[in-house]
Symmetry: T
C-alpha cells in the first residue's frame, strides 16, 4: 500500500470558518476525512499535516522522504514567495502535486505566479475539495506508471 | 448523456511527432481516443476539435454554447496572449477546464501566466494525457453538483 | 453615395447574449440595422462584416481599399495586441474610426492601450451602440471636409 | 432646456496660435461659438470655462453639480496625471464626456493613458473641433435615454 | 495655547455628499466642528483651511510657519503625486501629521504610495473622522514632549 | 471589559537595545507595561505576545478569534512580504490596527508598501510608543461605535 | 533538386502599394518571381504562400514538413507576438531563415524583439528584396553542409 | 533693450530660509536683485514672477509671449511632473532656459528626469545663484545669434 | 578563545543527499566537523545551529549577542527575501560573514540579489565547504584587527 | 575595386579556441582568409582589423571614412551596450552590415537587443562564417545599386 | 593662472563633419581654439584632450589631479553608462563641469539620464559651443569663491 | 610553482588616495606587495596588472591563458556592465576569483548585480585587502583539488 502525505499550509486550519462563500463550509477535518476515504479506495494511506509555519512545512517534506511515496500539497499563501519550500520540494525528490481550492490565477490582486509549480509533478486548481481528490488520482496514476 | 467539447489549440496536431521526450509518443488521434473512451465510461460523449487558428477556436467555443455542457480546452501557445479566447470563454458561460500536457509554469522562458485561467472553472497541468482525463473527471464532478 | 465598411471583431457576434448588463440587449443584427439606417439618412451605404479571426479582419480591410471610402471598426480584444491589424489600417490608407461599446480605458484588468488608435482617424468609446452612430457622423463630417 | 458645462483645461486658451498644423486655426472663442451654436440647435445651453489651474477645474466641476446636466471636458495635459480631477468627476456624479482635439493615443512621447476616462461616460478623440460637437450629441443622446 | 492648522486638500469640500457609504454623512463643516471641539478640550486652537488648488495648499503651509505649532493635513489626491507639497512640508519644518479618512493602502487601483509620508511626523489612516482626532492627540503628545 | 491582543513581530524583542536613536530606549517590557496601563484606563485588558516566527504570529491571530475583541499589531519586517499574515488577518475577521514605531514610508530603501494594510481597520505610523496608544484609542472608539 | 517554402505573413500581400518609400515598388508577385529565379539558378524549387491568418501560417509550416527541405519566412507583424508560430517552427524541425525587408530593430516604436529568431537557423534583415535572396543563399549553403 | 521673464516655481519663495546648507542664505529678493543687476549690465530688463500654483506659472508663460524675448525658468518640483508646463513652454515658442540651484540629477531619491528640458533651449544646473546668471548669459548669446 | 556561531538556514540539513553533483557528498554533520576542526586550529570555538524556520534563525542570531564574537551564516533560500533576517543581523551588531556553497549569482532563475549582504561584514560564495573555512579565516582576521 | 573594412570586436581573437561546439574550429585568421577570398571573387578588397578595446573600434570606423566603401562589422559583446559604437556608425555615414556567428537573439540570458542594428544597413546572424560571406554579398549588392 | 583640462569623449573628434544641422560646422580644433581664447581672457589656461577610449578618459582625469584646478568635460555617449568615469570623477575630487552641445534630455530614444551628473559640480547642456564657454565661466566663478 | 594573474580594473590605481575612510590607506603597490608575499608563502607566483581600459583587461585575460593557472580579479566599475569581460572570462576557461574591497551589494545606489560572477569560480567581497588574500587561498585550495 502506498503512503501519501497530505500537506496543508498557512490558514488552511481556518477552512470552513473563513469566507465560506469562496472556500465552502467543509472544515479541514472534513477535508482530511474525504481525502482519506478517497485514498483508501485507491489503496493509498493518507497522513495529514497542517502548519502555519513555513519551516515546519519544510520539515514535513524532509521527513516524508523516509516514508512517503508522494505528496499532495496546498502551500496556501507561501505559494507566492517561499523559495525555501521550492528548494525543499526539489531537494526531497518526491513527486509532489500542488493543489489549490480556488483558481489562484484568478486572484489578480497579487498576480504572482506560483513559484513552486516548476518543481512539482503537476498542478490542480479551482475545483474546491475535489482538487485534492483529483490530485490523489494523479499521484495514483503516476505510481502505476513509474514504480509499481 | 452529457456532451463535452474537447478542444485543442495550435500545434497540438503535431502531438507524438514533436519533441516526444517532452510530450510523449501519443498522437492527437490517440489522445482523442483515450479521452473518448474515458468519457464513455463516465456517461459523457466527446466531440473533438483542433485548430491552429485563434478565431476558429473562438468559433468552436461559441458553437458549443448550443450543444455542450462543458469544455476541456488546451489553448496551447494562445494561453499566453489570446485575450480573444478569454473573452470567448467568459462570453459563452460554459464551464471550461484548462489543461496542459506539461507544467506550463515550468516553461520559464516566457514567464507569462495563462491569461485564460481566471475565467475557467479550474486548471490541470503537468500530467501528460492524464491531465485530460482528470479534467473530464472534474467536469463530471461539476455536472453532478450543479445540474444533474 | 459614400460606401463605408462596418467591421466588427472577435466575440461581437455574441452581442445581446453576453453580459447584457454591460453590453445591452441588442444583437449584432440589431446593431447593423441601426447603423445602416443611420447611414442611409446621411447618404452612406453600409456593408457589414464580422469575424473572430484576426487575419480575416486584415483581409476585410485590404478588400475595402477597392470599394470603401471609410471604415467604422470595433477590433474587440484585438485592440490590445494585434500589430497585424495596426499595419493593415496604416497600409490601406483608408480613414478608420475606432469604436468601442464600453469605455475600454475603464477595463482596468489589462490596462493595455489600444495599439491601433495611433493609426486611426479618431476614437469613440463608451456610448454603447451610439458609439457607432457618432463614428458614422465623424466619418461623414470627414468626407464633407476632405473629398466631397 | 438642458444646461451643459463646456470645460477646457491648460493651454487650450492658446488654441489657434499654437502649432496650427496640428490644432487648426480656430481660437478658443471660435470653438466656444461653434459648440454653443451646435448646442442651441439641440436645445442645450452652453456655459464655457477654461483654466490653466488644476484646482480651478476641480472647482468648476463642483459648482456644475448645482446647475448643469452634463459636462464636455477637455482636460488637456492634466489628462495624464490629475488624480484630483478624476476624483472630482466621480465625486460630482455628473455625466462627463472627455474630448480631445487630436488622437491622444498617437502622442506616443508620454504613452500615459488618460486617468480620467474610467470615470467618464465616454471618450471622443481625434476629430478636431468636431470632437466637441460629437460629444454634445453623445450627451444629448444620453439625456434622451436617461432623464427625459 | 497651541495653534494648529487643519488643512484639507482637493475634493474634501464635497465631504458628506460624495460616496457616503465610504466617507460617511458628515460634511466638511461638521468635521471642522468636531476637530475644533476636540482641540479645545486639549488646549489647541484650530484654524481650518481647504483648497482644491495644489499651490494654495503650498501657500497655506508656508503661511503657517508664522503662526502655527503643527499641522493636521489630509492631502487628498495630491498625496500620490505632489512633490511640491512634499517640498513645502520639509521646507517649513513644522510637525505635520498626515491623515486619511479611509485606508489609502487599500485603494489598490493606483497603488501609489504617499509621497509626503516620508517628510511627515507620522501617518494615521482608516478611521474616518476619528483619524483627525487621533492626529490631534498625536500632535498634542508631540508638543508635550518637544516644546512644552 | 474588552480584551485586546497586543501582537509584536520579528526583532521587536530587541527594542531598547537596537538603534536607540531611531527606536528609543524603552524595551518591549516597558512598551507592554505602558500599553497595558493605557488599556486599563480605557477598560481594555491587554494580552501581549511577541514572536519572530511568521507562522506563530498567524497562530496567535487565529487563537485570538476565540477570546479577543481586537488586535494591535506591529508586523515588523513581515509587513513587507507576509501574504500569510494578510490572509490570517482577513480570515479571523477581527478588527486589527496596524502600528509602526517609525514612519515606514520613510524607509525608502525597500519602497515596499505594507501588504497587510488593506485588510486592517487602519494604520498608525511614526509616533514611537505613542503609535500603540493611539491604536488602542482607535480600537476603543471602534468598539464604542460597533458593538457596545 | 531541393524544395523550399517561401512563406510571407500579414500585410505582405500589400507589397508595392504600401509605403513604397520604405518597402519599394515591387509587388509580392514580383518578389516571388525574383526569388523563384534566384532559386532555380541554385537548383532550388520555390513554392510560395502568403496569409494574413496566424493559424494558416502555422498550417503551411506543418505541411512543409512533408515536402520541403527548408523555409524562407517573413513573419511580418507576427514576428513580435506569435508564440504559436515560434512553436510551429521548433515543432517541424525544418531549417527556417527569418527575413525582413527593413531592419526591424530600427522600428523602435515597439522595441519588441523577434520572438521567433531563437528557433530559426538565422536572421537576415534590412536589405529589401535582397534579404530573401541572401536567405536562399544561406539555406543553399546549409544544404551543402548538412545533407547533400 | 531685450526683456526677459525671470520665473520661479513652487517653494522658491522660501529661499534663504529653507535648508541653507543646500540652497544658501540668499532670499528670493536677493536672487532677483542679483539677476536684475547682471541683466542690466547686458542690456536685458528683468521682470520677476514667482508662484506656487502650477496653472499660474502657465499663465505667466502665456502672458510673456506678448512682451518678453526669453525666459529664465526654475520650475522647482514641477520639473518632475508638470506636462502642463511643458505644453506651455512649447506652446509659447519663446526661448526658455531651465535653471536649477543644485544639480537635480543628484537628487536621486526620485530619479525623475526633467520633463521640460526637451522643450527648452538648454539647461543649467548646480551652480547656485550663478546658474541664473549663466542662463542669462546663454539667452544673451542666443539673442545675439538669432534675432538682433 | 573566540566563540563563533555557525548558522545554516533552510534545506541545508539535506546536505549530502540533495543534488550531490552540485553540492557534493558531505553531510551537514561532515561540514560542521570540518569547520569545527578548522576553527580549533585558529583558536575559535564553533557552536553550530541549523533551522528551516525563518524566525528560529532570527532567534539564534539574537541569542548569539550574549555569547558569540561573530557569525558564519548561510541563509539558504531566505537570502533572497527575508527582511526579518536582515533586521536581525543589523540589530545584533555582531560581525556576520555570509557564505554560500555555490555562486548564488549564477542561479539566474530568480536573479534576486542577497538582501542580507548589505548588513554583513562580507560575502564568500562559490567554493563549496571551503567557503565556510574562508569565512572563518575572514572572521579571524577581523578579530585580530578589531578587538584583540 | 571597392574597399571594405572587416571589423571584429572583443574576444573574436579567441575564435577557434573558445567553445568550438558553438563557434566552430576556424580561427580568426581562417575567417579573414575565407572572407578575403570571397571578396576577391566579387572585386572587393578586404582590410581586416580586430580589437578588444571599444574606443579602438570607434577609431577604426572613423579612419575607414577616408578609404572604405563599406564595413562588415561583428561588434561582439559591445553589441549590447556600446552607445559609443552606435554613434560612431551613424557618424561616419558608411554602410555597415552587422554580422553575428550565432543567432544573438537566442542568447536569452541577457535579452538585450543589438543597439547598433538601427543605424546599420542590415543584420545577418546565425550562419557561422557564412554570415560574413552573406554580409559581403549584401554590401556588393548595395554598391551595385547605389554608387556604381 | 588657473589650469583647466578640456576633455572630450567618444566621436567628438568627428565634430563639424557629422550631422552639421545638429552639431554645427565647427570642428574640434575650432572648438578648442574658441574655448582657449575664452579661457585666456579669464586668466585660465586650457589643455585639451580627446579620446574615444573610456579608460583613457579615466586616465586623463587621474593625471589632471596633479596639475589642473578643474575640468570641462563632455563625456559623449559614455554619459549614459560609464560607471568607471563616474568613479574617476568622484575619485579625483576635482571640480568637473559636465557639458553637452545639444540638450541630452531631448534625446528621448534612450531616456537614460547622465549618470555622471551627480558627481559633477554642475551641468550645462543645449547651447552648442557656447555650452563650453558657460562651463568655463562657471568654473571661473567657482574658483573665485572657493580657492582664490 | 603555480602562477596567478592579479588583475585590477578601473580607478584601482587611485587606491590609498581615494576615499580612504572606505578603501583604506594602502596604495595599489602596497596591495600588490601584500598579495605577492601571501602568494609566495603558498607557493604561488603573482604577476600583477592594472588597467582603466576595458579592452586591455580583456587582453590581459587572453594572454593569461598561455601562462597562468588562475586569476584574482577585481573588475571595479566594469563589474556592473562589461559583457565583454564576462565573455573573456568564460572564453579563456581559467578559474577566476572575483574580489571586491567593499561589499558591493551594499552599494545600493546602482543595485546592479555583478554580471561576471556567474562565470567565476567564486566571489569574495567586503574584507578590504584581506579579500585578495582569501581569494588566493581559495585558488590554492582549488589547485589542490583539481590539478595538482
Amino acid at each position: 500500500m502506498k503512503k501519501v502525505l497530505l500537506l496543508n499550509g498557512p490558514n488552511l486550519n481556518l477552512l470552513g470558518t473563513r469566507e465560506p462563500e469562496v472556500y465552502g463550509h467543509e472544515t479541514l477535518t472534513d477535508l482530511v476525512n474525504v481525502v482519506t476515504k478517497h485514498g483508501a479506495a485507491a489503496g493509498i494511506e493518507i497522513t495529514a499535516r497542517q502548519s502555519n509555519i513555513e519551516g515546519e512545512l519544510v520539515d514535513y517534506l524532509h521527513e516524508a522522504q523516509a516514508w512517503a511515496s508522494g505528496v499532495v500539497f496546498n502551500p496556501g499563501a507561501y505559494t507566492h514567495y517561499s523559495i525555501a519550500l521550492r528548494d525543499a520540494i526539489s531537494g526531497t525528490g518526491l513527486p509532489v502535486v500542488e493543489v489549490h481550492l480556488s483558481n489562484t490565477k484568478a486572484r489578480e490582486e497579487f498576480r504572482h505566479e506560483s513559484i513552486v509549480s516548476a518543481v512539482c509533478l503537476g498542478t490542480i486548481a479551482g475545483f474546491g475539495v475535489t482538487s485534492y481528490l483529483l490530485a490523489l488520482d494523479a499521484l495514483s496514476d503516476h505510481f502505476g506508471k513509474h514504480n509499481d
